[in-house]
Symmetry: C2
Subunit: 134 residues, 2 copies
DNA sequence: GATAAATGCAACAAGTAAAGTTACAGATGA
DNA sequence: TCATCTGTAACTTTACTTGTTGCATTTATC
């Protein structure tokens, strides 16, 4: 599978579920559709479960289901649940000691964080129910 | 250096130049500030040069300089020059053959492309001159 | 012209994060 | 009791980025 595919995998799976919300799907079935591995699916969907977007049931006849109506799940919910941070820098970078560089670094960082927030705001405008096959 | 750092490196360097536009800097000096390698700097700044944001002069006393006033360079210019595509999927992915999956895939892709465009629009609102150390 | 100092670029090495895989414990319904 | 799920840890593989070396080319200066 390609890199940067967690968001894509999540959206595909959620959109698929949105088309038939009461149906329970196993990670093996989802992996089959997505062309990947059940463990990878559980890994990604696990974050969505932790965020309350999905429910997972163990055991016989278990599987995954949407926890809310598709209209009530925004792309921002998914993005945040996956802990994506596409624009802003990761926290653990080394900050320069030189004071001019430090000021610059701080400024660049804060601008990128603003942009990240704008991105999330944009994602919040679209819900799962708007992903329909043509 | 960290990953996803091309944009960060470019913005830092450009902001640094914006503070003193007539000064020529060599890739070795820039690399020193940025804590990286001159070749990496030339690799990244080369894209900005190709996009007309910077000029590079070879030979003795050569180096890098802003091609325009800082106010006239937006973050979107930089983003596009670097050929970043943080949200949308890369072009060369394999599209599913199943028709339902195909429709879904097309829809998800087009939504992510819309989001990518929104991101660029947001970046276009900020110029280099707005990156000033506090 | 010779020399020193810069970019341009190709080829390769090293590092890193994500995806893929295997294995197994725990839960649950038949 | 057994088959079928999820949950998770540990490890391997893969893909991409950054770092490095080497050298050709360009240009100012002596």
């Amino acid at each position: 599978m390609k890199r940067k595919s967690r968001l894509s995998l999540a959206l595909h799976t959620l959109a698929h579920m949105a088309a038939d919300p009461q149906k329970v799907q196993t990670s093996a079935q989802i992996a089959g559709h997505a062309g990947t591995n059940p463990v990878v699916v559980r890994r990604v969907l696990g974050k969505l479960r932790d965020a309350g977007l999905l429910t997972a049931e163990k055991g016989h006849a278990g599987g995954w289901r949407l926890a809310r109506k598709p209209e009530l799940v925004s792309l921002a919910d998914v993005y945040v649940a996956l802990e994506e941070s596409l624009v802003a820098a990761s926290k653990k970078e080394d900050v320069p000691t030189c004071s001019l560089e430090h000021g610059l670094h701080t400024k660049v960082t804060s601008i990128l964080e603003d942009v990240e927030q704008s991105l999330i705001a944009r994602l919040a405008e679209t819900s799962l129910s708007e992903i329909n096959p043509v």
